[in-house]
Symmetry: C2
Subunit: 106 residues, 2 copies
């Protein structure tokens, strides 16, 4: 998977997930790896970019809103979401956005 996602011509969707971690791993890395693998196999998944310093940012790209909804309602993902706040994240925000335009050097 490339670090900068190879996305198609807009329009498509971006889910911007920003979070602050709790202390300790508490199974976080295993969950995160599993969710990444699961997401990548969902219909409509286009790619993902992620980095964490003081704040963590994960941007996943999707072909349409239905694909995002399906992923949100995936049973294993829902279980992770229920565990997420308090156990892994002290604070988070999820933003659903429609990519209208993109440019870059490739």
């Amino acid at each position: 998977m490339s670090l900068i996602a190879k996305t198609p011509e807009p329009p498509y969707y971006a889910v911007i997930f920003t979070s602050l971690r709790t202390d300790g791993d508490n199974g976080y890395q295993q969950m995160a790896d599993r969710m990444l693998k699961l997401a990548a196999n969902q219909p409509g998944f286009l790619g993902v970019e992620a980095a964490r310093e003081a704040v963590g940012i994960t941007v996943s790209y999707w072909s349409d809103l239905d694909s995002i909804k399906n992923w949100k309602e995936n049973s294993e993902h829902m279980e992770a979401q229920r565990g997420g706040y308090g156990k892994w994240y002290s604070s988070f925000k999820t933003r659903i956005s429609k990519v209208e335009r993109e440019y870059g050097n490739e």
Copy 2:
């Protein structure tokens, strides 16, 4: 400035800038700090979130497309953009997206 941006009710806009750095600083940190300060003083600026590991992700939030256009065309910012590719970034992508929905724990 809080790590997770305090944004208003959608709709608003997100500029997702993803990049890979070249080796060495080459004045990067000074430029990045200056651009952040400049951006925060632009009309329509709502907030910013940033993290870098293998890939760098900076998401800035704006009230509307005109504000984004004004910022893109800010003269000092344009100078940084001209210097950006090759000097600071080996690869980058900028995506302009409209935030339609958000949720979180605050």
